[in-house]
């Protein structure tokens, strides 16, 4: 039980109550404490209310939340696996590649053990789909998405971001600012110095106040700005093509698409590599500033400050103000002017000031008890024998910032090393992306102000809604920026070169003893400096493969702590400059994103036919077909089958795709798409049609009905409607043909009424003449049935007299009820998909994609009659012309087997002697008509002679199959034509 103040994070509350060990490390299970206090490092990841890997330093403390530390057993304070440290020297870089090689025994035995040791936090294997408790806010599983399309998106809520957002919105742009803090102002929130932005126009309103006062003012101004929306605690994690920004805010995901982007993501501090640099008590300077200013939690009682830039001095003073003793202050630079009042204050407090010094080692076991500092020579190398040791409980590292340019690199900005700044800075951003502030590598508020105003005005300049910036304004700002940047660079140059970049190299003792190189280059994966050195020696000299071999930058911090030190080590070990060693490519997301946020509310479309609830009433079991739900079977296949064969049956065909194709060139279009000739189809007639691809393989089948000279009605298979619609539209456009394709699928419902009594039944409901003379097989007509306007097609997929009736969907239930009612005297039964499969199989009617595959041509499927090669060009003509004269590799054959065993769809077919695999059973059912199992099989054509045999392997039995091409039911097709 821990108490917290309003505004506390989990980490600040825990720290204030004395917790120092926040986690155990990934490999060695070393104790880890707070380090960055900004959500950038892996050290404070805890489990909150069952959600693993939550950054405690960014998670607001809430009443009643349950926080659990991770990766230690039995607890994080006492972890028996920390014994891994003792065998650490047996675990050099890539050790797993070099050991346990005798596959399968050694690795197979070791792997499960290693798996238990690695990983952080755990995910509950089962989580209820709808977790009621989650609705209570915080983490849980209610996720939502929001879409915004402003003119300008600004990422980053530091001074530069706010200045830029104000400039853009004041110039007339609609702007959105996203930032990851609860309040705006960035580092100004913990600066006590008076701000001076110089004598630039527009700067007056922001000068002359203390940093935190300006931060508060910026926060106020931004929220008051009409054209600007601010999203707090919102993390921009990805910058994708077309200026799309992905942002996570709690359980909400924002998807922003902007005309212009302003990236002011600032800079972050990284870890310095030295011995014991991972001990709890070693903290980054900016983290300490946050603890002091935002939460009022001092990091300790007695600190040593180690720096190589100006931020260290402010930090040391802030510590003093908070009542923390500073025992020693080490600035790696030699040319620092130590006469300033701030140095004076430090000196007065009793701190030892050391210039040209940095850190060699953090002392202590389990937490910091002291620091060993060491002098650097002019090349930045530590000098043996100059060590000084100080007692302390906190070591503050202010050893350099690195621009947070990950979003920019995602937008394909290059990042290159600037020798003078000592940082990797972004360059050449795309025209629609502006940058300003610390992310440019210039850590100067005056420059930031100018950059931000330029960025804001430029972003707004192209917009119709924006007021034009006064002529010359941009030029004036640019000139001011140039001189301010020069002044900043001159000041840096006057302080001498930055002596250490991410690493304090150990002194050589002159006796040829190898340096220990025991510091952690990567704290996520526990990679030490010496391991990188060894990897380079082994040949991993390219930073990209060094990364993959050592896993440097691949942990949860994604290189935020280790990228720069890693490059420093790689450069030193390969004898190259830092610029030449280069950087690895940063990939989205910039920070880990919960899968639930990406998934969103998880709504999945379900399509129900207009008669759906009638099917449920009738007790149908449903099946998925694409997005549709369809009745699989109502009572039993046998009963339904008998009804259709002897009386009358009705099936819901609403899921069939339906297209209306109209226009002068409609006949031409259909001739081009279908293998059949549709331009010669008579008015009022229907035809079976097959669509092939360029290789002549069947893509889809359906019926084409001609309703008028330039007017067709098409059906497609259930799953292919979207494809066929696109295919027709695409070709109509490509050929510049006048043909409108309209998708009628959801506007219509359809049933098939089939069976010997179908005509008698329908006659009770319609005046349309259904006699065979007037309405023969494959004819179409239209008229009222039960008072509902219908299109009737006389089609016989199930092999009986029958009509496929398409009608407006809104009549669905009424129409179904009328048919069922009128059909009762005739013995009507509804039938499902499974019954239909059997009925059509007895007729050897093919189901595309079940009885054919991605390569089947109409010739293979015994449907040569659908291919008309005598017409002009059509899709697949060349391939089919070629295929026509070739013996196809495979052929679809009908077969029967004797006995009880019914082969399963997908069973394999073998040559009669059982020696060779020759194909596959595509469909097989027990046929009441044939009184035996019947089926279709796709087999080698040289073994497909009529009357021939093959073997089917079904379970443990081998069955003798006899080939036939004669349908198993009503071979002459008399019944469907009656």
């Amino acid at each position: 039980m821990i108490s917290a103040y309003e505004g506390d994070t989990v980490a600040s509350a825990l720290y204030a109550s004395g917790v120092r060990t926040f986690s155990r490390s990934f490999l060695f299970h070393r104790k880890r404490g707070l380090l960055c206090v900004s959500g950038r490092c892996p050290n404070c990841m805890v489990t909150v209310d069952g959600v693993p890997n939550v950054r405690a330093c960014c998670e607001p403390a809430r009443e009643g939340m349950k926080v659990k530390r991770q990766n230690g057993w039995p607890s994080t304070d006492t972890d028996i696996f920390s014994g891994v440290q003792l065998i650490e020297r047996f675990l050099p870089v890539g050790f797993y590649y070099k050991t346990f090689i005798n596959f399968p025994t050694e690795w197979a035995n070791t792997q499960p053990m290693i798996r238990r040791l690695t990983g952080r936090g755990s995910v509950k294997q089962e989580l209820a789909r709808w977790n009621a408790q989650a609705a209570s806010g915080g983490h849980g599983d209610r996720f939502e998405k929001q879409y915004l399309h402003p003119d300008v998106v600004v990422v980053g809520g530091g001074p530069a971001g706010v200045f830029a957002a104000l400039a853009a919105s004041r110039a007339g742009a609609s702007a959105v600012l996203v930032h990851d803090q609860p309040s705006l102002g960035g580092h100004l929130r913990f600066e006590g110095d008076t701000v001076d932005l110089g004598s630039v126009e527009g700067a007056e309103e922001f000068s002359g106040m203390r940093g935190y006062e300006l931060a508060a003012k910026l926060d106020r101004l931004a929220r008051a700005e009409e054209n600007l929306r601010v999203y707090d605690n919102a993390n921009a994690f990805g910058l994708y093509e077309s200026n799309e920004v992905g942002v996570v805010q709690g359980n909400k995901m924002l998807k922003l698409r902007a005309k212009q982007l302003i990236i002011s993501t600032g800079a972050g501090e990284y870890l310095t590599v030295f011995k014991n640099n991972d001990l709890p008590g070693v903290l980054l300077g900016s983290g300490v500033r946050r603890m002091l200013a935002l939460y009022g939690v001092p990091p300790g009682k007695n600190a040593v400050v180690v720096t190589n830039n100006d931020s260290g001095l402010s930090l040391a003073n802030a510590l003093l103000e908070a009542g923390v003793k500073v025992s020693a202050f080490a600035d790696a630079r030699t040319k620092v002017d130590t006469s300033s009042p701030r140095f004076e204050a430090l000196r007065k407090s009793g701190a030892i000031l050391l210039t040209g010094y940095s850190i060699k080692e953090a002392e202590g076991g389990g937490r910091v008890t002291g620091a060993t500092l060491i002098r650097l020579d002019e090349n930045g190398a530590a000098t043996a024998g100059t060590e000084k040791s100080f007692k302390c409980d906190t070591i503050c590292l202010a050893n350099g910032f690195e621009p947070d340019a990950a979003l920019l690199t995602q937008a394909r900005c290059r990042v290159s090393y600037d020798e003078a700044l000592g940082e990797f800075i972004p360059s050449e951003s795309p025209a629609s992306v502006q940058t300003c502030g610390d992310v440019t590598g210039i850590h100067d508020l005056r420059c930031a102000f100018l950059q931000a105003n330029i960025a804001g005005l430029q972003a707004a300049s192209g917009l119709a809604s924006a007021t034009k910036a006064p002529a010359g304004k941009l030029n004036e700002l640019s000139a001011s920026l140039k001189s301010a940047e020069t002044a900043y660079r001159d000041r840096l140059a006057s302080q001498g070169p930055r002596p250490i970049i991410g690493i304090v190299s150990e002194p050589t003792d002159g006796k040829g003893r190898k340096p220990e190189m025991n510091g952690f280059a990567c704290i996520c994966e526990d990679v030490k400096e010496k391991e990188l050195a060894q990897a380079v020696e082994e040949g991993f000299r390219d930073i990209e493969i060094l990364k993959r071999y050592s896993t440097l930058t691949m942990g949860p911090c994604e290189g935020k702590m280790c990228a720069t030190p890693g490059v420093g080590i790689c450069a030193r070990e390969t004898g190259r400059s830092i610029a030449d060693a280069g950087r690895t490519v940063s990939r989205p997301p910039y920070l880990p994103v919960p899968m639930g946020a990406l998934a969103g509310p998880g709504l999945h479309p379900v399509k129900l036919t207009a008669m759906h609830y009638k099917h449920l009433e009738a007790g149908a079991t449903l099946m998925d077909m694409g997005e549709w739900k369809r009745p699989h079977v109502y009572t039993s296949v046998f009963e339904e089958y008998s009804a259709v064969r002897t009386k009358v049956g009705i099936i819901d065909l609403s899921t069939l795709g339906r297209l209306d194709v109209k226009g002068r060139d409609a006949p031409k279009l259909l001739d081009f798409i279908y293998t059949h000739t549709m331009s010669k189809l008579q008015n009022g007639k229907s035809r079976y049609g097959v669509i092939c691809d360029d290789a002549g393989a069947i893509l889809d089948d359906g019926t084409v009905t001609r309703l008028g000279e330039d007017h067709y009605f098409i059906t497609t298979s259930t799953g292919n409607i979207d494809f066929v619609e696109q295919w027709l539209t695409w070709w109509a456009v490509a050929k510049k043909w006048e043909a409108q394709v309209t998708n009628l699928t959801s506007g219509f419902a359809a049933v098939n009424v089939a069976g010997p009594r179908a005509r008698d039944l329908l006659r009770t409901l319609t005046d349309v003449d259904l006699s065979t003379e007037k309405f023969p097989y494959m004819a179409s007509g239209s008229g009222l049935v039960a008072g509902v306007p219908c299109i009737l097609l006389r089609i016989g997929f199930v092999g009986e007299t029958g009509w496929e009736i398409h009608f407006p969907a809104e009549y669905g239930e009424y129409f179904w009820d009328r048919l069922m009612e009128a059909g009762r005297p005739f013995g009507i039964m509804p039938f499902g998909v499974e019954t239909q499969r059997l009925l059509r199989l007895e007729k050897m009617h093919v189901i595309v994609s079940q009885d054919t595959d991605a390569l089947s041509t109409p010739y293979e499927a015994n449907m040569a009659w659908v291919v008309k090669l005598d017409k002009e060009d059509f899709v697949g003509k060349a391939a089919l012309t070629f295929a026509k004269d070739e013996v196809p590799q495979r052929r679809l054959v009908g077969f029967t087997v004797e006995g009880e065993v019914v082969p399963h769809d997908g069973d394999q077919a073998f040559s009669p002697d059982g020696s060779t695999l020759i194909g596959v059973v595509t469909s097989c059912r027990y046929s009441p008509a044939a009184q035996k199992p019947v089926g279709l099989a796709l087999i080698r054509s040289d073994l497909s002679a009529d009357g021939g045999t093959f073997l089917v392997a079904s379970g443990t039995s081998k069955l003798n199959a006899k080939i036939t091409f004669v349908p198993f039911y009503d071979p002459e097709g008399r019944r469907l034509k009656e």
């Binding site: 590649y97 994708y240 070739e886 394999q908």
Partner: protein, 407 residues
Amino acid sequence: MVLGLFRKEKMWGPHHKLKSHYDVVIIGAGVHGLSTAYYLAKNYGITDIALLDKTYLGGGNSGRNTAIVRANYSTPEGIRLYSESLDLYEGLSKELNFNMLLTQMGHMSLAHTDSAVNGVWKRAEINKALGVNSRVIWPDEIKRMVPALDTSQHTRYPIKAALFHPPGGAIRHDAVVWGYAKGAEALGAEIHPRTTVTGIDVSDGAVKGVRTSDGSFVGADVVVNSTSGFCSTITKMVGVDIPVVTHQLQACVTEPVKPFMSKVVVSANLHVYVYQTDRGELVMGSEIDPYSSYSPLSTFQTLEAIAGHAVELFPGLKNLRILRQWSGVCDMTPDYSPIMGRVEEVKNFILDVGWGTYGFKSGPASGHNIAELIATGKTPDTIKPFALARFDANAQVSERGAAAVSH
């Protein structure tokens, strides 16, 4: 075992200067190119080999795939090739004295619809017929194997069955690259990363050598194209068109967590696959992007889709975080089978391309067979069905069903 720990060995390099002529120049230093070089040197004593790669070693799809290996394909031709490959993978760590962390955890392809159930049944049956260990399993057994899967009936597409392939699993892809690289260099082959091929010289109908980005000409008796996404542009350099369309394929990985699942789980219906690595990360991927592209940039939409579908399968994952996403460009052929062997128009130019989304699995067998082709001049039976000429002879090898999302 323990002695191996202290082994500090030169893996490769330092960088050589390109010579003016090699017996064999291989374009693309990924798994395919490296294994070709290795087997040429090891099995046939051909060691005068240069491997050229425009990025770093294994920087193409060998470093971008999701490292799944399996042999449960759906055609006899495919099954033969991938089975050979899986056999080689099983012995590879030992052969190259480099642990590639092969874990044959078992590979499960879920079926959520009737037609998908038919599909997995068909694959199980042909696998069994050809000696590949596969079988259809039903929701009870699926639930026992992967308790984290939502096998309930309340989901939009309830799980109905799965194809289970026990020898399938994953291997550390980078380790395969490094192992082969080490083996090939030890036998005399030279790897030249960051060396782009800009042209291929052909005269009298035979290949003569390649031109590189630094302006040099490198002569060669045989040139092998072992590239992926850009294989059609490389092949075009000798004036030959191949039926390849390049698409992006994307994947992502989560933060590491304690053991959560122990099988590779694939759902073609939901366009997603998931497995957990030894490090505890969950690796997830999708099928290829629907439009063709050479872009190296990952997309937001695909990330959302992968996450959405993975959460649909494993509701427990919704609070787990995605750490990184990436993409590769894949060379898709019309039948989802590769193009291997000689081309009729240009002598001594060998193709090992068109590997689409399944090239990594076949790396060892491809290299093995291509090496045999180069050394003996005879096309091995295993790769005969994959000749470029099949597209003119209506003799495609359809792996669409088994290769689409089933990485």
